[in-house]
């Protein structure tokens, strides 16, 4: 496939107002913008190529404070699943807001949302709501420990389950050795290694927590081999280990019934957040009936965890995702997009590798092993209105159109040309 070269070169963006705002932020906010949405953890290479502050968002686009427009393939790192400001979700949230939101006792809309999740998610017999994905992964691990009266938790290397101390590592600042003393690490997609680990720690392992496939940063994402998850399920059963699926990132983009359902197994506990309410702030831990009373016994709550507006938004989001058959839509859109991007690279004699599920595609230029070429290309795309990242998987939303994809490929083509011209050594 040969893509169409752009007719008129795009003028690269500039970011004077973003920079001004960042200067202000540096004075009053640690590191200006902390965390994954900032220039350091967000891997803005070079930082000068990226906007730092957004002003408004609609559909599949956002506009930065300098007025630059972007087709957004990060979707707020996942929450934007239907399109920013989706009218149906907004209407449901607004209607609930006119009634109540944070009140002394909860609204029955919480029950409505829990019922919808139980009806939708294959492994859900109940739902417990919180705010962030990390709230639910922490609750899942506490539940596993309470249920088994064991200490150790198995992680697959390359994992990310939030930022609570137990999810971090021995060499992370502020994390004590005791916080991670009961973490065990197994290689991804290696059943024999997992079996050895569980045997070495027989009777000690409370839970195994994993994302449905390996979507680590800086590396090609890896889907599970056939039979892997069935094998993990079997080993967990044999060793009395609670199997926790962290579906915070992939949830509802692969399969509305849960990513465990997508890969043909059933989790004991499954964590949701990002795509749950199209940007309204709610997360959920769902699980088997046998663990419901265990969760009930835990001391775990928060000031905003029963706010009603996000529940209403969540109901509208899941209802619309179901109506759209969103996972199939994302698979189609992602395949069309990544096929176009790969072809655009090939037009310039470069090799772009795509990995992971099309709905959460990961990109890497394979013409060097340092990611430097890739970072250059991503930066040139961003400066021309296509927001990608160089280190992380991407996200699709249902507002993305064929025209958006065509424009994306056009920009990508131009960006490949810019990088190619800068590197005559590529031959």
């Amino acid at each position: 496939m040969t893509t169409t070269a752009p007719r008129t070169p795009t003028t690269p963006y500039t970011y004077a107002r973003s920079r001004e705002a960042f200067e202000r932020a540096l004075r009053v906010v640690p590191s200006g913008i902390y965390g994954h949405q900032g220039p350091a953890e967000g891997c803005y290479v070079p930082t000068s190529a990226y906007p730092l502050f957004s002003q408004r968002a609609e559909g599949t686009r956002f506009w930065d404070v300098d007025g630059n427009e972007y087709i957004d393939y990060m979707c707020g790192y996942g929450p934007n699943v239907l399109g920013y400001g989706d009218p149906d979700v907004r209407a449901a949230a607004d209607a609930q807001a006119r009634l109540e939101d944070v009140v002394t006792i909860p609204s029955t809309v919480m029950v409505d949302f829990a019922e919808l999740l139980v009806d939708t998610v294959a492994s859900a017999d109940w739902a417990f709501f919180a705010k962030n994905g990390g709230d639910t992964t922490t609750l899942a691990v506490m539940t596993a420990r309470a249920a088994t009266r064991r200490k150790k938790i198995v992680f697959f290397e390359g994992f990310y389950h939030g930022v609570a101390p137990w999810t971090q590592k021995l060499d992370h600042p502020g994390v004590l050795e005791e916080d991670v003393a009961h973490a065990l690490y197994a290689p991804w997609d290696d059943l024999a290694a997992l079996e050895r680990l569980l045997s070495e720690h027989r009777g000690e392992v409370a839970g195994l927590i994993a994302q449905p496939y390996m979507h680590g940063n800086f590396v090609d994402n890896r889907l599970p081999s056939p039979g892997f998850w069935a094998g993990v399920r079997r080993l967990c059963d044999e060793h009395g280990v609670v199997l926790i699926v962290d579906d915070v990132r992939a949830g509802f983009r692969l399969d509305l019934a849960g990513s465990d359902h997508h890969f043909g197994f059933r989790a004991d506990l499954i964590c949701f957040c990002k795509a749950l309410a199209n940007g309204y702030n709610v997360s959920a831990l769902c699980g088997r009936d046998s663990l419901k009373d265990v969760v009930s016994s835990l001391t775990y709550t928060g000031s905003y965890w029963m706010s009603a507006v996000p529940f209403a938004a969540g109901i509208a989001t899941l209802t619309k995702l179901r109506a759209l058959d969103a996972p199939a839509l994302f698979d189609r859109l992602g395949t069309e997009l990544t096929t176009g991007l790969v072809a655009a690279a090939a037009d310039h004699g470069m090799t772009l590798v795509t990995s992971g599920a099309p709905a959460l595609f990961y990109l890497r230029i394979a013409d060097d092993d340092s990611l430097m070429l890739h970072q250059e290309w991503v930066a040139e795309c961003v400066r021309r209105g296509v927001f990608l990242t160089s280190h992380h998987n991407h996200f699709l939303n249902a507002a993305l159109t064929g025209a958006d994809i065509a424009r994306t490929v056009e920009v990508a083509h131009e960006a490949f040309g810019v990088v190619r011209a800068r590197h005559p050594e590529l031959g």
Partner: protein, 257 residues
Amino acid sequence: MLTETDPRAAAYVNLYAVLGTLPELVRRVPEARALLALDPRPVTAAFVVRGGPRGVLAFRDGQVRVVPDRAVATVVLPFPGPTAFNRVVDGTAQPVPVTGLHRASFLLRVFAPLTALLARYLRPSAEDLADPEFRATSTALSLHVAAAAAAQVGNEDRAGRFSAAHVVDGDVALEVDGVLAWTLRARDHRLTFVAEPSPRPRAALTFADLDVAGALLAGRVSALACIGDGRMAMRGTISMVDNVNRILDRVGQYLGE
């Protein structure tokens, strides 16, 4: 995050990073070269630490060279354990040679003043720092110690090894724009410091100037804030930079920053 340091790892840092910066001191500071000129005869000094590192400093033709993992030398300085060696490097104890007594004068006339000069640059007084040239040299030498220590901590410290286990093979370039370029080389999760530019870095951490580098090593500024405002930059396989940064954090515990 480990809250305590390991004397054995500290001994590796002291031998290969602190004393290992003597060649750089001699390259940069005329006063150091003048000290070497006091006794120009070739001499080697072996530091042999029971349960710790062993290595040789070779002095010849006005230059110093570090020979790792070697115990044969003109003057051999044995230490019963890492803590005893660390006390000597800290200046709270004196080494006692068991061989090469005929060259003991070199230790007193050249080596001791040389290490004292290094200490002056690594722990500068406010008065010394008022001199821009001294400050620049002091920062460069401190950076050299930190970069060399990163390799030792990555190989010998428990937290450092944990970080190094997540570093893929390849070179991490450590650069100060227009001033210096060094390399931290990873192979099978073992790190080597090379005081030369990498021919083909897989990742790079670049400081805008020596002052930024010095401030970061002293813990006066945040790496994340510096990346945001452009005083630092990273490129390439950022996971390598992330893990090197974690090791550099740990290095600060060893160097007392």
